[in-house]
């Protein structure tokens, strides 16, 4: 079989189309950058952010420094429990990336905390132990979703001794059975 060469117009047509699309991308990136670059819609918590660079640092990604520009100590103090405030303050001090636990671009209704860890002891545990943060007793891995371990701290040893077995791992979640109604 003898083949005909490529039509002469094929490459110029594709080159021109590519150029037109590039101009469109450039124009659209200024007007609506999320449509052209974002991997998904922002959550309802961040949907009113001014632009991509509000959270993303060029070539460094979503930066904790930009997160804390909004999520400051004051922000947590006004909106969160003392435990949550201390928890985040500790992580910021340790320079832990916020993206280790929080995600974005999963849609308006998405949960942005990876496997949200709830406090199984309730706020009561802080009153009973005199602590203000989960990290006073627990060691967490790089990601909050991993199972925490107990720290070798005086408060943990004291709980073990005073509870005569009740304060063993796995049982402390039942603490309200004995310490209910604000009893210490």
């Amino acid at each position: 079989m003898r083949y005909h060469p490529l039509p002469r117009t094929a490459v110029p047509v594709v080159a021109l189309t590519t150029l037109v699309l590039l101009v469109w991308i450039g124009w659209g990136s200024v007007r609506s950058p999320a449509s052209f670059w974002a991997p998904g819609e922002l959550s309802r918590y961040h949907v009113d952010q001014a632009g991509c660079l509000h959270c993303h640092e060029p070539f460094r990604g979503p930066s904790p420094a930009r997160c804390v520009s909004c999520h400051s100590d004051r922000y947590f103090a006004d909106r969160a429990t003392p435990a949550v405030t201390t928890w985040h303050r500790d992580l910021v001090a340790q320079r832990t990336a916020c993206t280790a636990c929080h995600t974005e671009h999963r849609g308006a209704l998405a949960q942005i905390t990876e496997r949200t860890r709830t406090n199984p002891h309730g706020e009561f545990v802080f009153r009973a132990t005199g602590t203000s943060s989960c990290t006073a007793c627990h060691e967490f891995g790089a990601r909050v979703a991993t199972k925490p371990t107990l720290r070798d701290e005086p408060i943990v040893r004291q709980l073990y001794e005073r509870g005569r077995g009740a304060h063993q791992p796995g049982r402390i979640a039942e603490c309200l059975a004995c310490h209910g109604r604000g009893a210490s």
């Binding site: 079989m1 083949y3 590519t18 991308i25 974002a38 070539f59």
Partner: protein, 195 residues
């Protein structure tokens, strides 16, 4: 000879099955995870592997154009065909069925056009050559002269010639694919960070 339409259908079904396989595999890897596989470290690695493998396809056309007087680089053509299928399958694994931003969508669309035109064209070409040779042997066996055989095969060869259109799409669309792929990679590094 099987009809051209049937051959196109067979090749299309194989291509669709391969792509669907990659997408289903990505969906399985994403099951029970908070993030789609493509957004994980391994998903990004699949994208990089796909890119590197896909870039291997350019050795063949480059060698062909840089030294056209030399023998046709058959070995690199095989690399071209294998890398042109395996690389995009890694890209499908990387992307999954999660399409939002227009730049990666354009990169994906141009890749699909390049790959499909290449796979369908090459497969139809290979099938038709083998069908032509079979037919030639059959006619020779029946005792027809070479000129009679050529005359009988002319219609069949013309029919296959129509499939040359695939090359008019395949080669030029590579330009668009390269531009949008590089743009997508640059955008991902810009917004998600280099490390």
């Amino acid at each position: 000879m099987t009809s051209v339409r049937l051959r196109v259908l067979v090749v299309t079904v194989v291509v669709v099955a391969a792509v669907a396989g990659a997408l289903i595999f990505e969906a399985l890897l994403s099951l029970g995870e908070t993030a789609p596989f493509g957004h994980t470290q391994y998903g990004h690695a699949a994208g990089w592997v796909g890119l590197v493998v896909t870039l291997l396809v350019f050795v063949y056309p480059l060698r062909k154009r840089i030294s056209p007087a030399r023998r046709w680089p058959r070995g690199w053509f095989r690399v071209h065909m294998v890398a042109g299928v395996v690389g995009p399958l890694f890209i499908f694994l990387h992307s999954g069925a999660h399409y939002h931003a227009l730049v990666p969508i354009l990169a994906m669309l141009s890749m699909v056009i390049v790959v499909v035109s290449g796979v369908v064209g090459q497969a139809v070409h290979a099938f038709s050559l083998s069908a032509l040779n079979d037919q030639r042997r059959r006619l020779q066996h029946e005792g027809l002269s070479d000129s009679d055989i050529d005359a009988q095969l002319h219609g069949m060869a013309s029919q296959e010639e129509a499939f040359r259109m695939w090359q008019a799409i395949h080669a030029p669309m590579t330009l668009m694919f390269l531009v949008f792929t590089l743009l997508h990679v640059a955008g991902a590094l810009f917004f998600a960070g280099i490390s």
